[in-house]
Symmetry: D3
Subunit: 334 residues, 6 copies
């Protein structure tokens, strides 16, 4: 088992019951989540020693974050308290043809408003196998743009592998701004979650026009630009409706392309965090050194399972993911 640090923002999601609109609701479900926190929980579920670094307000809502992480065994030694608020967002889940509707209220959170590094980097990265961070963090402020890079460098210097999830959010920054920053980050990265759209719109790779598997092309091009990246991965998601998706995981490793079986996900209980469950599955498999085909099978199964539970984080252990992979679909075991 490995030691992992993930760092980023965590928010409170306030969501309505399925079929109820925000303007109408008398009740909101409270879930905590954020890309890096979700990856942390996945890895803790799989048995690793995981630390989530962030900053939360010193009140009951911040305490809720801490309890959420602790519940899954994520260590909160680097969870700072202070600042003014926890970012929140409101959400109406999608149903059938109707897409989910998200209202962000995340500005000026304790994390986003940080202006100086409050962690001791030598402690933060001591004996860390993987440091995982995403493209959301540098998008939060100019402070975070430069600090993200500084943290990655410090982790690298301390001997960690760097895992980066591009996770582009158009509501936070432009493609141009993102592309520039990410291009500064990627030369430092070992494992990267990046797909076709990232390649085209952020990294400036020309559209593929051939007849072969386009992902092979995009992965190859990304790796040409950033030969330091040893593993690239992403999912191909076929959106039949907000309630029904199909999911295939793809992996690029040692110049080889792998993909998982197709998972038919219907109905979708909660899609939020499915990508993070996928990343968590990839990083776990890297840490326990399974062969490439097993990496992508495991990670995609973990992501498919995430769709079947409420909340932002995966809640399945390694044996549960494996037995899901082995089982056929939907039988009662009794």
């Amino acid at each position: 088992m490995g030691k992992v640090v993930t760092l980023g923002e965590i928010m409170l999601r306030l969501s309505t019951d399925s079929g109820v609109r925000i303007a109408q609701t008398e009740n909101l479900h409270a879930h905590y989540g954020g890309g890096e926190a979700n990856v942390a929980i996945s890895l803790a579920n799989f048995g690793h020693e995981v630390y989530f670094a962030s900053k939360i307000p010193d009140n009951g809502v911040g305490e809720g974050v801490k309890k959420h992480l602790s519940r899954y065994g994520v260590r909160t030694d680097f969870l700072l308290t202070g600042g003014s608020r926890l970012g929140t967002y409101y959400m109406e889940a999608g149903i059938g043809e109707r897409a989910a509707n998200v209202i962000y209220d995340r500005a000026r959170s304790s994390f986003a408003e940080m202006t100086e590094s409050e962690w001791k980097k030598e402690e933060l990265f001591k004996n860390v196998d993987i440091f995982h961070i995403s493209g959301i963090t540098p998008a939060l402020s100019s402070y975070w743009k430069k600090t993200t890079i500084a943290l990655i460098k410090a982790a690298k210097d301390a001997g960690s592998k760097i895992s980066f999830d591009i996770n582009y959010r158009g509501k936070l920054w432009s493609q141009k701004e993102a592309g520039e920053t990410i291009s500064e980050i990627l030369p430092l990265v070992d494992y990267c979650s990046a797909g076709k759209l990232d390649a085209i719109y952020l990294l400036g790779i020309p559209d593929y026009t051939g007849d072969d598997n386009e992902l092979v092309y995009y992965y190859q091009e990304i790796q040409k630009k950033f030969p330091n990246i040893t593993i690239l991965y992403s999912t191909k998601r076929k959106v039949i409706s907000a309630s029904s998706n199909e999911l295939i995981g793809t992996l690029w490793i040692n110049q080889n392309y792998y993909e998982s079986q197709n998972h038919v996900i219907n109905p979708i209980v909660d899609r939020v965090g499915a990508g993070d469950a996928f990343s968590g599955g990839v990083l776990h498999s890297i840490l326990v050194q399974t062969p490439p085909q097993e990496i992508i099978n495991f990670a995609t199964a973990a992501s498919a399972l995430k769709h079947t539970v409420y909340g932002d984080c995966n809640q399945f252990s390694e044996p549960e993911v494996i037995s899901f992979l082995l089982a056929g679909s939907g039988k009662i075991n009794r």
Copy 2:
């Protein structure tokens, strides 16, 4: 934006949780609804000045009706109070192959028992662009049969366009009785929601035997009989199961036939009021004078959206319906 009056009965729906039978339930969900009230709410959501005329008991249940309408901005100036009760019905939602089960307890409601017109017609119809009423109202009593026609005439005299939704309910009257009354009403109508079954069973139009689009035939035949009707519309609903339907809206205007794209609605959250959402979409489009193809696209999208929320009324604004139309299916926007 226009000024609209709708008039009819509104009831309290008492429904069980999905998967729970009435005889078993400890809990009933309370929703207020009725065809004309639902159309009123749709139009208020779209920005029109809308009045719903009806009669409700002077108690907390009646007050619930008033609050329900006001919440959506429908004006209750013509909502009379008095009489003995609000009609109710119990409902088990359908699931898969099992159809919904409805138990009516609507007899002797404040509205159904009205015996004299308590509105001042000159106030009710002053500057009204559209007066909307349905075939349920004349089915309630002999008083209402004659009053429905009188109200329509008064509205017409005052310069309103007349919108009529045939909305045949076999539990309220026979096809013969309905056909006779409706045949008296239709010569006064401008916009009419009527479909194939209405044509055959109520209006006596012979079955179509040709190979072309049968709806063109039925619309044409209806219009031959009632050349005053300028717009006819209805939906083609393919019932795969109680949880899964497909929906195409159809429109007949200026001797031309238009239809919307096919909406795949799966799962259905709540089908009640979907037809009213469709009528609301048509009337809105008429009021803002969009071209025929846009009328039917908008109205069908509004109806499809209605299926995704609980309650009898549509809860989407005009921009939301349009952005639903433009978007692909089921993506999170973040």
Copy 3:
């Protein structure tokens, strides 16, 4: 209408909301159920005089069992009280590709720990048309292995028909142990729920290798071994996912094979007890002497309906099952 006794264990099911894991939940839904109890309730719903014999603890949980049965009109004259506990099990419902997850906590229940017959057999089986029992009971203990056979003999002696549902549970006994016991029981049985897997793994019938309907073969082979069995039945279930199944009922009677239409069950609300609803439908049809094709149509429809309600037991009356059979799929009746 007939008089029926069913005998077996009944448990408390503690299940989470769909999409919530046991380790996470703050809430558990309580349902009582067990194969023979569920069959008893089905038959009481259909109008028969039904007695459920079992043993429950003398406390509020046992009282809950009694109230559950009484609610549906099942007579509890032979429901003994005493012993230490009611067996329970925890359940996460399956969703899509993810199968249901069951944690049994059924050992040492009041019923399983019985060591002497506390019923007066002459009373228990007086004028009973059908005595129904399942393969779960002899699997509970060596006492129950021998007592199951003794009870069946006593019922047979008293003139009852014997109905037996093999209901093999791998968590309770091995295939070998089950096969031996069941082979002792089957020579006493009139109506038997048994399928392909039972034939192969428990009764030692060789795999079918031909091209015809394999069930005809298996039913024939079972009947060759046990010519006393006059009716054999089982369902063919196509598991598309935990949320979507297809179901065909099959029946073997007088050397003839019958099957029902295919029922598309999507979504599945609660699959537990669907087989018992099927048995209940078969036994009802036998008691009211409907022709074979109607037996299997009715029983399969009853089972399909069971999938649409929460809880272990079918909650539909005979007229409701028949009107479901006659109706098309999923229309609102209003």
Copy 4:
């Protein structure tokens, strides 16, 4: 144990969560209840053979009534089906200084609209120890006024004791009308629930002006008028607020007055049916022939317990009532 028949109307209560108004609520709790049905359930809980005679509609709501009664072991052999509807009422529970608010919608129910006796009296009253009925039934219609008396006479002729609960409801009839009818009934009655207000306003007994226990006076005066009544009983309720009451039961038997200890009931969970629980306790004690002081202790304890559970009916067995009586207040037993 005895055999008891109770006869009357049963309704569906639709109540809001405490602190939520009817006009606002999205949810209604469904409870079935009525004075005579509640007494029936109390007596069935205490182990008697009890039949509830009434008429309910032939639909899911009526089926709910039947399941409700069966759940508690009340026999439904004389529960007729037919007619148009089940009476309902809406209720906001009282809280503190704010009283409960009830909206009746009970007119024209299946029971109230009965116009001919649909029971065979010789079956209904065969070997019945006690026939229990209340003053609500004759208030429902002129048919019921005369039929109530006829039924009481038939029961008396068949050898039953007659139990009558005056239960005056000002919303159903005037004091004058009630007084006249009740004065016709009381000469036939053996056990009667009647209190000070009944004595003064319905039976015309002058106000007490002395210094002694006024109830002794009123009971004496009632008995002077109706010497056939062997037992009179009622409660003295001190209403501190809608959430806090004190309750003392009183009993008049053989010219002696008995009263129970004072029960402090705070908080009140649900007050509806507390009087019926009291009557049930009295009738049970009569049937098992306990001494007068025990009668009133038991009945008052049963009523006090009823205040602590939701729903119209008492849910405690005889041993539970007795152990409540013996225990001190509010200790955990573990």
Copy 5:
């Protein structure tokens, strides 16, 4: 009936179930409220024409505010949309000795961040009888400090009476800052909610040392300083615990002191907004010109009733408040 404008901030309250902590909860109840909005709703319930002026974000949460106000009949013509967010706060209700716990997240709301007046004052105050505003608004920003005064002056110039609720919040500004601003406002005010603590800490009035009713002294002193104020009012609240309070309303008018009966409020369902319900009752009574003793009786009863319902606003009509005043405590009316 009068015409009233209230102006201020409205927030979303997110509260846990009673007995559940914020850091633990999976569910939050959503209520909208704010002092001036609550007063507006009270007055609309009582039949007045009421406008609430504020600014809300242009999203589903803002839409929720609008629907909330409309539901009660408050006009939203002056409800601006725009800006970044709706202020929120989290709340654990108090229970017994444990006080409520509030976490504010209200900074930078659409209303608080306003920097220029977006209403046309001549429209806003046209024919307005009362303009109501509170001391929270000037505490929000320096812009709002100056704008509050400007709005009051404009209203006064337009002929409105000015109603001001001091409503001091220590979390928003210091006593010194508040005292200065409020001292600038009070010379413009007609009706003022102010109590002993306001007098001492904000207005610099010396502590009372005599033996008479101290409130007479404080009211007199306030009025000496601000002789323009014709009506002063406040409540005396005896906090026995968070679940149990006693409440007396007090009123100063024409140099006379009036107080209401004592209301024992136990249990408290939701205390938030009780002061606003009191103000609403006072302003209503002023508008309908009831005598002083009736003013304070009515207003205090309205406030007592508010404690018995969830949500920030009073939900009782004028006849309901009056019948509550007349009724004794806690009886079922049936």
Copy 6:
């Protein structure tokens, strides 16, 4: 801050909604708890390094225990997995005069069935300041009787202080059996939760007959017998009803008696675990070395707060307990 190990059984509590009986409920609330686990959580909330040692089944229910403890920061390094089941109990909360009703189903749990020590004692007790255990553990089996003593000795040898909560449960063992075992344990104990009833019925101390504070007498007598005990503590609870208690904490230290203020607890939200919250408060105060009066103030306040939240464990931090102590009763802080 200190290091603490607590060891004992933890169970799943299944409780109904207040006012709902077990035999009736469709829903059970799931809470995990046990005396030693609850103390562990209290101490972790107060900032100590706490380990809970126990044994849980290797399934989702056991996983639930682990997540419950981790959520509050309790370390689960010594939480063994294996065995057959988690003990459970069903509970109806008490209300007013009606006491809580508990049905145990705890026999044969993974913990109770342990037969050999599976912890390495040298690891378990390394640098531990306090080892806390209760009288429930030796009551579970003869294995546990002897093992409890062995563990206490090992902890003592390793240098820990021993904290023991007598916690007598009549359903588990007789007073005689308990008295003998506890008398073997107490000579090893440093801090002991013991009260008057323990003194009389378990330790054979004669009833006090004097006029002074009887607790001084009992504490003195206990200490005479067991001079090694340096701190004795217990609560005086006045049970007004199941919903209303008064609580005074008492402490004996250095031959001096201290008691806290009286806490009026009304309403009681959940009384389970209130004694453990008290013990947790005492042990925390010992660890941070506050003066005796502060020990008892803090511990009693912590216990009073526990009554206001659902679940078995205290959920308040040290600053929250202190601010509760300082604040008056029940004010909103805003």
